[in-house]
């Protein structure tokens, strides 16, 4: 289709400013944002938490809380100004031509109504459609969003659907009205990687079919790279850079964008060869915005002018806008193609002398089952058949000292249960587990203090990892006093030393968790975990709820602590890039079993287990020019109560070879030193598979 004359944009925002009135004063959530989205185009709005991207969306869609006010700027939707119009006109414009999809699909669906009824409701009520016709349209829409078995889905309740299916329903509902603008606020953050890939494909398809303009908000650079046409980067309420997606990833010019790109681990990078430079400093609190450039305190390129004069958003090239005084200088300084990052002096070199020792942690045919409580009368008396959720089923591995084992898998694969079993918070059912030569098959309350001291854990959620009633110093000091029997006075000094090790200054001793940010809380948790100098630390998704730049800082910290205290680590995550970066060995888990285990480079290059291959093809990569195979798994993860027979992955495996996969459990084939793949497909065939991901720099 010819686009000689650029049609007018569906949404044009100009110098938008939104603030919230709070008890402490007015907080500017959005200070100066301008962009335009055309039909069939996806604008990705990326930024870390607190940058105001969600507020922009709320402002457009009129979902601001009562204390939120648009104080400046214009919002032109479909050629009509939204500010200053009557409520009736606004309702008409927004209701019929704008739709929004949020992060949590369950909160957008009415739990009491069947899916079919909910979807049809919009049509029946707003368009006066007859029920039969509305139902037909809903069915058609469900097919459009690639919902498996749409007829049955219409009759189900929301809680009976998986997360990915719920999100598809929500997207379908949003599109039923054929909106001109679709706003999506982190729609895939709560979903597993493979499910996310499917939803992203869907969104890309839909924009061509429906010609809808899409505003896609996310903090995940990989997702933005795979789905957007143009990208806008926000920082503290301002738009700092805007460009087409290829430009912004190839030649980012704003220091913040540059810094963001650098601190995201790219698939294929490992800690031996590269370093994640974190962004120093903290995001300024909205009450305390620096005059001049907002990013200046954290900027490596800052000059005097940046401290004094507030930069405006200006066009540096035809389609590239930037808010920086020094943009031209940065552009000319080394044609900023993001080079492959070089290690610099901060490389962590690992001792290889430990290789000949016995493994520090060993598991053999480990099984952890949860008994499912049946509600039948028989089970009350104890006669009912016991059903088990086979969370960890027959896992074996060895881990040597000062090495890191990464465990990846999607939700329900059992990685958290594995961590809890190792550490003693869950009781294993069967198998053997040894740590430092001691048997650790018992729960933590039966373990001696000496053993407990050597095995510690870091948790996922920074907000609940610290006790809100006690100060930081007290909480770090407790393991010191309890497990190392240090006197109070000595403990104080040691705590300060630990605070320093996690890069927090002494003033944090008396602070309460309420006063700390997510990253700071996680650092305190780190200090607490290593306080007793354990030999093994388990990290259960420690950076999943943190911003990208904070994640980089925490990962670097983990590496430093690992080197300083010679700690062995087990690192659990669903983020494959982070695991690749951080681990020496990786185990890929699916439904309680290990599919593949081996050195990190071996896992991320052929031969692959089919599940590993699918996972890698689904990871959103922050590089729009990278070539990535698109292997999409059909169906949903089966229930762990009743896992499939034979190879557990066979129900969804794209490389299924025959009945053998359903009948026999796959043996472990040796694909290299320490590298095992559990698959029936012969290794020679697997070796011939092309790599899933080829980065543009290769």
């Amino acid at each position: 289709m010819s686009d000689k004359r650029r049609p007018r944009p569906v949404l044009k925002i100009d110098r938008l400013a939104i603030l919230y009135e709070t008890r402490k004063g007015d907080v500017s959530a959005v200070r100066d944002v301008s962009f335009a989205i055309h039909r069939g185009e996806v604008l990705g709005l990326v930024g870390e938490s607190g940058c105001g991207k969600s507020t922009v969306a709320f402002g457009i869609a009129n979902f601001l809380d009562r204390n939120g006010k648009i104080v400046n700027g214009s919002i032109l939707f479909q050629g009509q100004e939204l500010r200053g119009r009557s409520k009736e006109t606004l309702r008409h414009l927004r209701g019929n031509q704008m739709s929004m999809v949020y992060q949590d699909p369950l909160s957008a669906l009415n739990p009491c109504l069947r899916i079919g009824k909910q979807m049809a409701e919009t049509l029946i009520v707003h368009k006066n459609m007859k029920t039969g016709k509305a139902q037909a349209k809903c069915l058609e829409m469900l097919k459009r969003v690639y919902m498996p078995d749409p007829m049955t889905m219409l009759a189900r309740y929301p809680h009976q659907l998986s997360g990915g299916q719920q999100q598809r329903v929500v997207i379908g509902m949003a599109l039923l009205n054929n909106p001109a603008l679709l706003i999506t606020d982190e729609p895939t953050t709560a979903l597993d990687v493979t499910v996310e890939a499917g939803v992203l494909d869907l969104i890309s398809d839909l924009r061509t079919d429906f010609d809808t303009a899409i505003l896609y908000i996310s903090h995940n650079l990989g997702v933005i790279a795979s789905v957007s046409d143009r990208v806008g980067v926000m920082y503290t309420g301002e738009l700092v850079e805007q460009a087409p997606v290829n430009t912004i990833f190839a030649t980012p010019l704003h220091p913040y964008t540059l810094a963001l790109m650098e601190c995201v681990p790219r698939l294929g990078e490992s800690k031996d060869l590269s370093y994640l430079p974190p962004i120093r400093g903290r995001v300024p609190s909205p009450m305390n915005i620096p005059p001049g450039c907002v990013f200046e305190p954290r900027c490596d390129y800052a000059r005097d002018i940046c401290r004094v004069k507030h930069p405006q958003l200006r066009q540096i090239a035809e389609d590239h806008a930037i808010r920086c005084h020094l943009a031209e200088r940065i552009a000319s300084n080394g044609a900023k193609k993001l080079k492959k990052r070089t290690p610099a002096e901060q490389t962590i070199t690992l001792e290889t002398t430990y290789d000949t020792e016995e493994p520090i942690l060993r598991a053999d045919k480990l099984k952890t089952y949860y008994t499912q409580r049946s509600n039948s009368v028989l089970s009350l008396i104890g006669l009912g058949t016991k059903r088990h959720v086979k969370a960890v089923d027959d896992i074996s591995f060895k881990l040597r000292r000062a090495r890191t084992l990464g465990v990846v898998g999607e939700s329900g694969c059992g990685k958290s249960t594995l961590a809890k079993t190792i550490v003693g918070l869950e009781s294993p059912h069967d198998g053997e587990m040894e740590f430092l030569g001691l048997d650790i098959m018992k729960p933590v309350r039966n373990r001696g203090d000496a053993l407990i001291r050597e095995l510690q854990m870091i948790f996922q959620n920074p907000d609940s990892t610290l006790n809100p009633s006690f100060s930081v110093g007290h909480q770090i000091g407790r393991p010191l006093r309890r497990l190392r029997r240090i006197s109070r006075h000595e403990a104080r000094k040691e705590v300060n030393r630990l605070l320093e090790a996690v890069r927090l200054n002494g003033s944090y001793y008396n602070r309460v968790p309420r006063q700390l940010s997510g990253g700071e809380k996680q650092r305190v948790a780190l200090a607490r975990a290593v306080a007793a100098h354990p030999k093994l630390v388990l990290c259960d998704e420690p950076t999943s709820s943190l911003d990208v730049s904070v994640q980089a800082a925490i990962l670097n910290l983990l590496l430093e602590l690992q080197q300083e205290f010679e700690i062995t680590m087990v690192f659990i995550s669903h983020d494959l890039s982070v695991v690749r970066f951080f681990s020496d060995f990786v185990a890929v888990m699916y439904l309680g079993k290990v599919c593949e285990i081996g050195p990190a480079e071996a896992i991320y290059s052929p031969p692959y287990h089919p599940y590993t291959e699918a996972l890698l093809s689904a990871v959103p990569i922050p590089d729009p020019l990278a070539k990535q195979k698109a292997i999409r798994l059909s169906g949903a993860v089966p229930s762990a109560l009743d896992p499939p027979t034979g190879c557990r992955f066979h129900t969804r495996c794209p490389r299924l070879i025959g009945d053998i996969c359903a009948e026999k459990e796959p043996p472990g084939a040796d694909a290299g030193p320490d590298h095992k793949i559990y698959c029936h497909i012969p290794l020679t065939e697997l070796r011939d598979v092309e790599p899933v991901v080829t980065l543009s720099e290769d």
Binding site: M1, K4, R8, Q78, G79, Q97, K127
Partner: protein, 218 residues
């Protein structure tokens, strides 16, 4: 080549209660000539075009200055628009030439595309058709543009295509119409790539009864 694929899918839409002055301004700012008027969601209520928004002088003859300005400022779209029942519409699955035919026969420049319930799904204008004509004739593609006249009989066009195709040349555009003023002849316009002038002329002249009427390089 259906209307669905070439219409503007999310046109700017306005309400019947909107003032004429505001509509004029919106048209000007957004450079559109036609505005579908909708109510109850996207249900078509009427259509306004730039011309319709001009007020007929006869209406104003009897009013004085103040009344005129009041009349003008109070004038709403619902007073001047073409009401829904008089608006000619088209279905999105209709072929493109159907849209063209309707526009020619009814002397309209714009057709709202509606579904069975009268909800707007898009809008297709003369300008869209013109843009599509440009595409069909390969205006943006380079090659040798040759118009071949042949008898209006079975198999003639196929012979031409076969001859060109056998040489392995690319055909970025094809179009055919009955010859103007010669009802038993037929003109085929094709654009050919990868061929040289001489080769193409030779091939076509090799076909019996096929005559080159026009040839140019674009």
């Amino acid at each position: 080549m259906l209307v669905r694929d070439y219409m503007t899918k999310h046109p700017m839409m306005v309400e019947p209660e909107m003032r004429v002055l505001d509509a004029q301004r919106a048209m000007g700012e957004n450079d559109v000539r036609h505005l579908p008027v909708v109510k109850q969601g996207k249900r078509l209520a009427g259509l306004v075009s730039r011309g319709r928004l001009l007020i007929h002088p006869a209406k104003l003859e009897s009013l004085n200055v103040w009344e005129i300005s009041r009349y003008v400022s109070d004038l709403k779209l619902k007073d001047v628009m073409v009401p829904a029942q008089d608006v000619i519409v088209i279905d999105k699955m209709a072929p493109l030439e159907e849209a063209a035919r309707i526009m020619v026969n009814n002397k309209v420049r714009c057709l709202p595309v509606v579904d069975e319930d009268g909800n707007i799904e898009g809008i297709i204008t003369k300008a869209d058709l013109l843009a599509q004509l440009m595409e069909m004739l390969g205006a943006r593609r380079s090659g040798i543009r040759v118009t071949v006249r042949m008898p209006n009989a079975d198999g003639e066009a196929a012979r031409l295509m076969h001859a060109v195709g056998a040489k392995g040349w690319k055909i970025p555009a094809i179009c055919g119409v009955p010859s103007p003023r010669k009802p038993d002849m037929w003109d085929a316009m094709i654009k050919v790539r990868d061929a040289s002038r001489q080769e193409l002329i030779a091939v076509i002249e090799g076909l019996e009864n096929h005559e080159i009427v026009d040839l140019r390089e674009t």
